[in-house]
Amino acid sequence: MKKQITILGLALAIAFTLSSCNSLIECDSISQRQATFLIDVSDKKLFADIENDLNTNFPVFMQKSGLGNISPCQSFSLGFGQLSSKEELNITSATISISRKGQSKKKEWEQASPAPLVRLMKQKLSDYKQLADEPQVTAGSNICNVLLKAINQSNPDTENYFFIFSDMVENNAQLNLYKGIPDKKNASQVIEKIIEPSVLQKFSGLQKSGIQAKVIIVMKTEPNGKTNQRVVKDFWIAVFGELKLDVVFIDNLSNHVEL
């Protein structure tokens, strides 16, 4: 009887020891990283250019930048939204994460696999391809307001990256760059005009709280050649400068970007 009790006690002691090894396995916290792709679907040719860029350069970009590479106790979310004549923000996202430590490499690779993100991306590109044909969508484009909305709804505790795939030629009731590009000196007035006050207010609040947000603008050439890309770029540099946003302009995803 004594031996049985001894063995049972030993087993319980070992179980207790193992259970107290949680610190080796459980994550204290999970650091998050989020990338949002805002894709301009206001023009069919433009979208084709964007799609080609993504198909060609996206895998290499993700590998080189390490944006989607996660380690134990990290997660990465990839979201997609459209830039069109509609001012609404509609983001669909998927997440990969490794939520425990001490797992086998095989398990970590399985959890870090970008397959769900790639599936989502393929699906959204397919959807956007169809949208790019719809006149309602291609009637104009809302870029800045939608961008700020996307920033407003992001998590302030994560690293946030916003990729804008567009020619940046905003065309809506508040601003039509086809008709004329405002002076850079009037950037603040333009901001007040094109961005909703509530959106702007919330954005200002988030900036004060120290939100981490980097904007990478993959600037495409206007497909119909109606605007001067450099002038448009200068204009947006002024606007984003006024908004104190960390913005980088690249031509396509094969360009190097410091994240």
Binding site: P59, G68, K106, S113, P114, A115
Partner: protein, 432 residues
């Protein structure tokens, strides 16, 4: 209280005129003059009589205390003598018995030495080896550290060896939890192996051999099967670039060879299964199967009624026990005698103590009385001195007056006392 000179002059003058002079009569007692009597009869000297009376009483009391002390002293002396006599009587008995005890102990010691020299080791005298049923108070001492150390050493060596041969699969396929479980499983299997091996040494049985064989097989499986499976059914990882590809159909990180048997996948995820099987087998073997009754033991018990022949050891033990018993009896007798001695002396001792207490009390009282007497005598002396002084003043005046009266001085011859204080004391009735 000294009065003025005039007072003494008046007294003396009156006495001279009235021919009242002090003198010694035919019987030799001193006759005071009127003036002297007036001085001595002053109320201030009344206290002399009282003081003397008090001293007298105190002296009487003191004498009574002294007689009482004598009354206690004599019996206490006789009790002391009686106690000394009794002590001597009992002590001689105790001394005799102690001599006997000493002889017995010497005899026992000599006997032990003789037996030792003859090569007979007496069981009680062997160095303390732990008996199988002897309980050790300290749990730390119960552990056989040599065995524990050897067990842990074997476990460690096997762990190192197993890690070495499984390194490639461990890196990719095992988490920390799984490694710990595997390590614990190996330890458990080694422990069971060790326990059954010991049991088999004590009592060889077929089931133990089977268990040992199965256990070794399970340990070998744990050690060699994973690398073998890794070699036959490897786990391949894909490149990250293709993982992000939007054009490939299967953009997955890991590709595996098709056709992995389910048991391989099951075993890879549950490497503790051999340990579990061993544990179940162990429970059955160790606790479930009862020890069979040995027929030889029964036949030995039935043959017991034969008379045992005494061995040398038995005889030695008998002799020793006899001596020890005698020693014990002697010690008991000494103890009894001591107790009797104490009980006999106790009443005397108590009496003597009481008497001594009373003597001390009487002595203290006598001392107090002496102090009081001394105090009173001091007062008496002071009063006597005062009386003498006044009488001297009176004498001076008397002699002056007489000198100035030639007629009187021719036929009046006062006799002054030789030792005035004694006459004064006589006058007041104070015994010298």
């Amino acid at each position: 209280m000294i009065k003025t000179t005039l007072h003494y002059y008046n007294l003396a003058y009156r006495d001279v005129k009235l021919n009242s002079t002090p003198y010694y009569n035919n019987e030799g007692s001193y006759q005071w003059s009127n003036g002297q009597l007036e001085i001595l009869n002053h109320p201030q000297f009344d206290e002399l009589r009282k003081l003397y009376s008090e001293i007298d009483q105190l002296e009487t009391k003191k004498n009574m205390q002294l007689r009482e002390m004598l009354a206690y002293q004599n019996p206490s002396n006789s009790l002391k003598k009686e106690s000394e006599t009794l002590t001597k009587v009992w002590q001689s008995e105790i001394d005799d018995e102690q001599l006997i005890l000493k002889d017995l102990k010497t005899e026992l010691k000599q006997f032990d030495e003789d037996m030792f020299n003859r090569g007979h080791y007496i069981e009680e005298d062997r160095p303390a080896e732990s008996k199988p049923n002897e309980k050790k108070s300290n749990w730390f001492q119960r552990i056989n550290w040599k065995v524990a150390f050897s067990f842990f050493s074997v476990w460690l060596l096997l762990e190192i060896f197993m890690t070495f041969i499984q390194w490639s699969s461990l890196q990719n396929d095992r988490s920390i939890e799984e490694i710990l479980i595997r390590s614990f499983s190996l330890a458990v299997m080694l422990l069971f192996f060790h326990l059954i091996l010991n049991k088999n040494k004590e009592n060889k049985r077929g089931i133990y051999i089977v268990f040992i064989t199965v256990n070794l097989l399970m340990i070998s499986t744990m050690m060699f099967l994973p690398p073998l499976l890794f070699h036959i059914f490897p786990v391949i990882s894909g490149s990250t670039t293709s993982a992000w590809s939007l054009t490939e159909e299967t953009a997955t990180t890991i590709t595996q060879q098709n056709g992995i048997p389910s048991w391989v996948a099951f075993y890879r995820n549950n490497e503790w299964v051999p340990a579990l099987l061993c544990s179940l087998f162990f429970m059955i073997v160790y606790f479930g199967i009862k020890k069979p009754i040995d027929p030889k033991e029964n036949s030995v018990r039935e043959a017991e009624p034969e008379v045992k022949l005494k061995t040398v050891q038995d005889e030695i033990r008998e002799k020793r026990n006899h001596l020890k018993t005698k020693i014990k009896e002697s010690e008991n007798r000494i103890e009894d005698t001591r107790n009797k001695q104490a009980s006999a002396l106790t009443p005397n001792t108590t009496h003597i103590a009481n008497m001594l207490e009373k003597l001390e009390a009487a002595k203290a009282e006598i001392l107090a009385v002496d102090n009081k007497i001394t105090e009173l005598k001091t007062k008496i002396n002071a009063l006597l001195k005062a009386a003498i002084k006044e009488l001297k003043l009176y004498k001076t005046e008397f002699l002056d007056i007489l000198r100035n009266d030639p007629v009187k001085s021719s036929f009046v011859t006062p006799e002054w006392a030789d030792d005035e204080d004694n006459n004064i004391m006589k006058y007041f009735g104070i015994k010298i």
